[in-house]
């Protein structure tokens, strides 16, 4: 085995070195495929993250929706009395109402604006993100907000500064100025940076129709639930449905999958990534096959002088793996370089796991693409290759 690896490694690397220009071009093709695949993966992660970040980081395990809302947050309406009922269910440690809407953040004297997700949360309850700077919300009606890191990055706002929101209530644009008391980590929702207001404050400042303005009772969209023991998730879920009328309950994962466009978006991007890898396999396979066809006499000589098939096959594998690794490394470095130039508004997130999966898939495309040529190399008959067959 050592002898096979020694000879095949020598042959493979010598050939690469003596034809480094040609092999570098192939590595660059692999690098471009790597760049494309990593960006698609990062875009998928970024878009997915922008959609689900707030929900995925909730400090709870279950979400309660209005019955028949099909786990659509916008379609769900829950009265404030429901949260008390949820808190009474066995196995529930805590529950918090969450309201969702949109608003426009006014920057630099009305000249610039930023669309944000305006979320209503109960201070000290499930749904209020932990701040990394400043303090938590103080009361359910306080004139204050927490902004997420994305809002802070895009606006230069920080804890202690004032923030002005523009919303449409009835037919009028209304402006609300609130104090930023804390900054949380990234909490994007609906692909927008977010501003979290105390629940009753949120209910007062959110966009509302004329009819809603005259409706006295606050209404949440969902209730986030934290369990005493997350292992009892199925039991508690059933308890909530049994004890409370007209609600349905989803896990965080189910809620994320039900976010509008989330599944379609992710499957589209995954398909794109898959196709790019597939094209990569064909391109690499095609290159190595063409190269092998040009090398038939040379492999014939090698076999005629006593080079065994395992050496020929191992040389092909080593060559393909080396070229692929070089290409993937160059592609990875290019991706890193490009990613540094993107502004925070571009939804690209390089997640370790996603990137690692993409890199492993990329490292496999070379050997997969080269399988046909390796098989072909092993089957070359030295007699035919040297023109000695009659």
């Amino acid at each position: 085995m050592k002898q096979i690896l020694s000879v095949s490694g020598y042959l493979a690397l010598r050939e690469i070195w003596r034809n480094r220009g040609r092999f570098l071009l192939v590595s660059l093709v692999i690098a471009l495929i790597t760049l494309l695949v990593l960006f698609i993966a990062a875009l998928g992660e970024g878009l997915g993250n922008g959609n689900r970040e707030y929900i995925s980081k909730l400090n709870g395990e279950l979400i309660v929706y209005q019955a028949k809302s099909d786990f659509l947050i916008q379609a769900s309406r829950l009265g404030t009395d429901r949260v008390a009922e949820v808190r009474d269910v066995d196995g529930v440690e805590g529950a918090g109402m969450i309201g969702t809407s949109n608003a426009t953040l006014i920057l630099d004297g009305d000249e610039e604006t930023l669309k944000v997700a305006l979320l209503g949360v109960e201070p000290g309850q499930v749904g209020e993100p932990t701040v990394v700077e400043g303090r938590q919300l103080s009361g359910v009606s306080a004139e204050e907000v927490i902004i997420d890191r994305n809002t802070a990055l895009r606006t230069d706002l920080s804890a202690g500064s004032q923030l002005t929101l523009r919303v449409t209530q009835g037919t009028e644009d209304v402006f609300f100025t609130l104090e930023i008391v804390g900054v949380s980590d990234g909490q994007q929702y609906g692909l927008q940076p977010s501003v979290m207001a105390p629940f009753l404050t949120w209910d007062r400042i959110r966009p509302q129709s004329e009819a809603e303005l005259n409706f006295a009772d606050a209404t949440a969209n969902i209730i986030a639930v934290k369990l005493d023991d997350p292992n009892n998730i199925d039991t508690v879920r059933q308890n909530i449905v049994n004890r409370i009328d007209k609600v349905e309950v989803a896990t965080l994962k189910e809620s994320i999958q039900a976010l509008p466009g989330y599944s379609a978006q992710q499957s589209t991007l995954n398909t794109q990534g898959g196709f790019t890898l597939f094209i990569g396999i064909l391109v690499i396979g095609g290159f190595f096959q063409i190269q092998l066809l040009q090398k038939v006499p040379q492999i014939g000589v090698l076999k005629a002088i006593g080079t065994s098939n395992p050496v020929v096959a191992a040389a092909s594998v080593i060559q393909i793996v080396a070229i692929t690794v070089i290409g993937v490394v160059i592609g990875g470095l290019l991706t890193l370089l490009f990613s540094l130039t993107f502004p925070p508004t571009v939804p690209i997130v390089f997640n370790g796991t996603t990137s690692a999966i993409a890199l492993v898939a990329l490292l496999l495309i070379g050997p997969l693409g080269g399988l046909v040529s390796i098989r072909y190399a092993v089957r070359i008959e030295p007699l035919k290759a040297l023109g000695l067959s009659s």
Binding site: V7, Q298, A304, G306, S308, N309, L388, S390
Partner: protein
């Protein structure tokens, strides 16, 4: 697979047959060929196109299995060996030069020669030195690090000769080694080849259609229609054949 023999021959064949089935019936590419070559003897295998000499050479090189018969190389029967055993025999006991495309294009002259030592796991300091000395003797001392593409056809053939001899094989085979060379270079290559075979005491067989190249061999075997039809053993007979070749 060992077969006991009582002869001093490096190579012996007994009634070697290679037959193919064709629409017109059975074709005998090689038909009942028996020959012997001693160590230190250089033999030419000649004959017109289609006479079976290349097929016979392929069988002797363990590249092709005969339909029947025995090929004993150092007492081991190539005919009864598995594919892997024949690959091993080619690596260990046989040296080979071809008409063209002889060398691995991405290895330098010295690397091509050393390759045989690598394949047989015998590449050490002494082996590397021997490869350089052999190339120097063949007039390629200044070309050690040249790639095949940077050498002439004659120089490439001489590198191939060095590669065929470096691992001390029992049998050295050459298939039309002068086919792509001009006359002067062709004589040089065959003369060098013959000299080394005699000096290193190897059994050598050269297939050629150019009878002039037989000047340097010890014996000539003539094939026609797959059979050995004539053997030229004396110097007079061989030189007469060579003169016939010159007059062609």
């Amino acid at each position: 697979m060992n077969t006991n023999t009582n002869t001093n021959y490096a190579l012996e064949t007994h009634s070697v047959v290679k037959q193919y089935q064709a629409d017109a019936g059975t074709i005998y590419a090689v038909n009942e060929v028996s020959l012997q070559v001693k160590a230190g003897e250089f033999v030419a295998l000649v004959g017109p196109s289609g006479s079976g000499k290349t097929t016979m050479l392929s069988i002797l090189a363990a590249l092709l299995k005969p339909s029947s018969g025995q090929i004993l190389l150092d007492g081991q029967d190539l005919a009864g060996m598995s594919d892997a055993e024949r690959v091993s025999m080619r690596r260990e006991k046989i040296g080979f030069t071809f008409q063209a495309n002889n060398l691995v294009p991405y290895l330098s002259a010295v690397e091509n020669v050393e390759l045989m030592l690598r394949l047989t796991n015998r590449l050490d300091k002494a082996g590397k030195l021997r490869a350089r000395e052999l190339l120097a003797r063949l007039g390629l001392g200044e070309r050690l690090n040249n790639l095949p593409g940077q050498m002439s056809g004659g120089q490439q053939q001489r590198v191939a000769i060095a590669r065929a001899l470096i691992h001390n094989p029992s049998l050295v085979l050459a298939d039309e080694p002068t086919a792509s060379l001009d006359t002067e270079r062709a004589y040089q290559v065959v003369e060098t080849f013959a000299g080394l075979i005699h000096e290193q005491n190897r059994a050598g067989i050269m297939v050629t259609h150019d009878l002039r190249m037989c000047e340097y061999v010890d014996r000539v075997l003539q094939m026609r229609d797959g059979k050995l039809v004539k053997e030229y053993t004396t110097r007079d007979e061989i030189m007469q054949l060579v003169r016939g070749g010159r007059n062609q």
